[in-house]
Symmetry: C2
Subunit: 217 residues, 2 copies
């Protein structure tokens, strides 16, 4: 995979969608798929799909299409999904609980190992087997558990100081759900800031020219 | 704005990021910005920014750059943020509560007007002034409140039936947080499926080749 390092950000940002779509196809019992059919599923063009996947060596065969299982395995390798990253979660409020209770971390090859909060009423609880520790235990637990990723669900004003503390404790990547965006150049490790507003704005854009609500008039 | 209808999906998907970045610049007191500086902030190239914004008429001036406030107003118009869409939320579990309590709907020009659940212990509560109704009241309340957008935070098996019920009740767009993706061609209105896994996988990709956790060794 010589050229894997030169893959554009746009392609990388599409890979999780490929992975999701292919996993769904596997669940539906689809063994192989043409670039045309995959394109229709993903709302892309067949040539874009061939181009995207060729960035990683191109696993399709003329007249056969792509083997769904093989492509899944390749994407898992490329995405690092198979790497079994360990995660900790900070801030066990509503959003933190929703993630601990309902989010399928294993789909991404990630294993949550501990959660942290400052609220005494939640410290000592566990969610699907993940124990909630006092935040003051962070450094000790990081030494013990050696997590790779931190999931931030803390209030805005706590985001930056906790991020810096996490990086000092050896965290290699931050998945940030707080309302305060983190700048990678200031934090020093990869950050994915999750912005719910982006998808809501896209939805607003898409419905703005459709007919307004009409109900029995 | 003759050519606004021909704007590519890629450009549209970047617009919310432009909007977020510009709003942040306004908060920081920045009045105008060159495409070069905006590019540095957004991790894009200056020529891509000029190209993207020119799709909507191009508001920059040679040697002056872009007026942050003007661009915000234009983007609000384009995105439909200024349209004051009305939203209802279904499923007041941890994620639903997190959105009602902490998400800034007004940033996207959206106003939540009601929430729904089947759990008697939460019906009758309110979150930041948004009342929680019994799900059986959905049709009656839709007739009364005329919401545009439904925010789905319901369990997977309830997603499809509730989406169909919402569309029959006149909903024009669905913001779907459930684990079950909705296909627009089957639902008949624009859907934005929120996939937390996409950003986590991107993070895994980005850290997979960095040094593993080292702590005092």
């Amino acid at each position: 995979m010589e050229n894997e390092k030169h893959v554009s950000k746009a392609v990388i940002s599409r890979l999780p969608r490929y992975y999701r779509t292919l996993r769904q196809l596997a669940v539906e019992g689809v063994g192989r798929i043409s670039s045309k059919d995959l394109a229709a599923q993903m709302d892309l063009t067949a040539s874009q799909i061939r181009q995207d996947l060729s960035c990683f060596g191109g696993f399709g065969q003329q007249g056969y299409g792509y083997s769904v299982d093989k492509l899944i395995v390749e994407l898992e390798r490329i995405l690092g999904v198979a790497a079994s990253q360990r995660a900790i979660l900070l801030g066990v409020g509503n959003l933190g609980r929703a993630l601990l209770r309902n989010f399928d971390f294993s789909f991404c090859g990630v294993r949550p190992v501990a959660a942290f909060d400052t609220d005494e009423t939640v410290i000592g609880c566990d969610f699907r087997g993940i124990p909630v520790h006092a935040l003051r235990e962070l450094e000790r637990l990081c030494e013990l558990e050696r997590p790779d990723i931190a999931v931030l669900c803390v209030p805005s004003d706590a985001t930056r100081p906790i991020a810096e503390r996490l990086v000092r404790a050896g965290i290699r990547g931050i998945w940030n759900f707080s309302n305060e965006s983190l700048r990678e150049d200031l934090i020093g490790v990869p950050v994915e800031n999750v912005h719910f507003s982006d998808s809501l704005m896209k939805l607003c854009y898409r419905i703005k020219d459709t007919d307004p609500f009409e109900f029995g008039e």
